[in-house]
Subunit: 212 residues, 2 copies
Amino acid sequence: MNSAPKVPIPTLERLATYLRYLIDLEASNVDTISSTEVERQTGINAAQFRKDLSYFREFGKPGVGYNVVELQTRIARILQIDRDQSVIVIGAGNLGSALVGYPGLGEHHFNIVGVFDSSPHKIGTTIFDLDILDVRTLKENNALLRARIAIIAVPASAAQAVAENAAAAGVRALLNFAPIILKVSDRVVVRNVSFLQELAVLSYQIVADVRK
Amino acid sequence: MNSAPKVPIPTLERLATYLRYLIDLEASNVDTISSTEVERQTGINAAQFRKDLSYFREFGKPGVGYNVVELQTRIARILQIDRDQSVIVIGAGNLGSALVGYPGLGEHHFNIVGVFDSSPHKIGTTIFDLDILDVRTLKENNALLRARIAIIAVPASAAQAVAENAAAAGVRALLNFAPIILKVSDRVVVRNVSFLQELAVLSYQIVADVRK
DNA sequence: TAATGTTTGTAATATTTTTCACAAAGTCGC
DNA sequence: GCGACTTTGTGAAAAATATTACAAACATTA
């Protein structure tokens, strides 16, 4: 399906960073930007920026730089966030709730269309205008909701089962907040976010006295 | 200060993963584990595991494997999470609040000792038994709290200023949730968590049809 | 104790990612 | 239009990270 030379994950991560930055630039009425200026403002090497973009044909004009609006549009299209995407959140605890209420998601076309939980105390109640649904009805509900991205914000003990149910319900991508390595089919992509891992690395770095 | 051969960041990240896994193993009364078995259960290459550990002298016994409790203890010490660490949370919105209430942190010796916000509606109120303090008093308060790690959960527009204040207040490490690249002194280490970035990468990967 | 099997630690190799360096393309002032 | 700049896009080099492969260490069985 995808015959393009494969794009490194770090490049994709940086594309998202560039996009944020370009949105700010547009708001400041800057219409052109050079890779050198990107480096000055983001700390990301200018050649890195150019190489990242080079995975997707030409963007810039020699001697001038990049058109802010055009680059923004193209990166958004590459990342598929130029259109609305349905996302479901599984787990309506503190973290799940915070994510449902995070306005940044909607601003970037990630529309949360469903929230699921297993607790009878939560099912049927509402959170940020969304009904909390029974996680046991995930498959039936997602047949209608058609979300391809799920955010897993349940305890570690429930995460693997939830991941499998999500996959069976047609979900193709998981953003996993549970501190566990999920085993899923090749058809499903996973990214993990672990606060503890991040804190642990910082904790080490403080004493290791790493310099930039 | 640190003359040890420098440890790759990916290795540190994996150490945190191993630690979680070892805690589970101990709970299941497993007392010895081999690198092959680690690979089978976590998907992390066995040699990778051994190499990661090799940055910190020997751990295992040829022909046998690794003692679960001992390895756990040593990794915890390496990551400095064998002792209590004070952490402050700046920003008491949905996300900041969720973090304050996240029990996993305390379980791993990350003790949240202070929560700060700028909103007069929040200052003086309580969240999970902690008073919300005025972010303008960060420096004075941290002189007492002595946290070296701060979690930044404020809007992007406030994050840079907050980071600078935290650094001035003696904070040495920042876990930044704001979608912005912080500019801080060499003495401060930063790690960024961006939900949008994670979702954007997933969003790309769904259509790029990446296989493992 | 010897033979067999398992597992570690690491040197060597391979792969991935980043950075360098420069030709080609474009701008600007005169 | 010409010369002096600026900036892109990308091969080539460098650096970082992951994997392979294997000698050495230890266990186990007989």
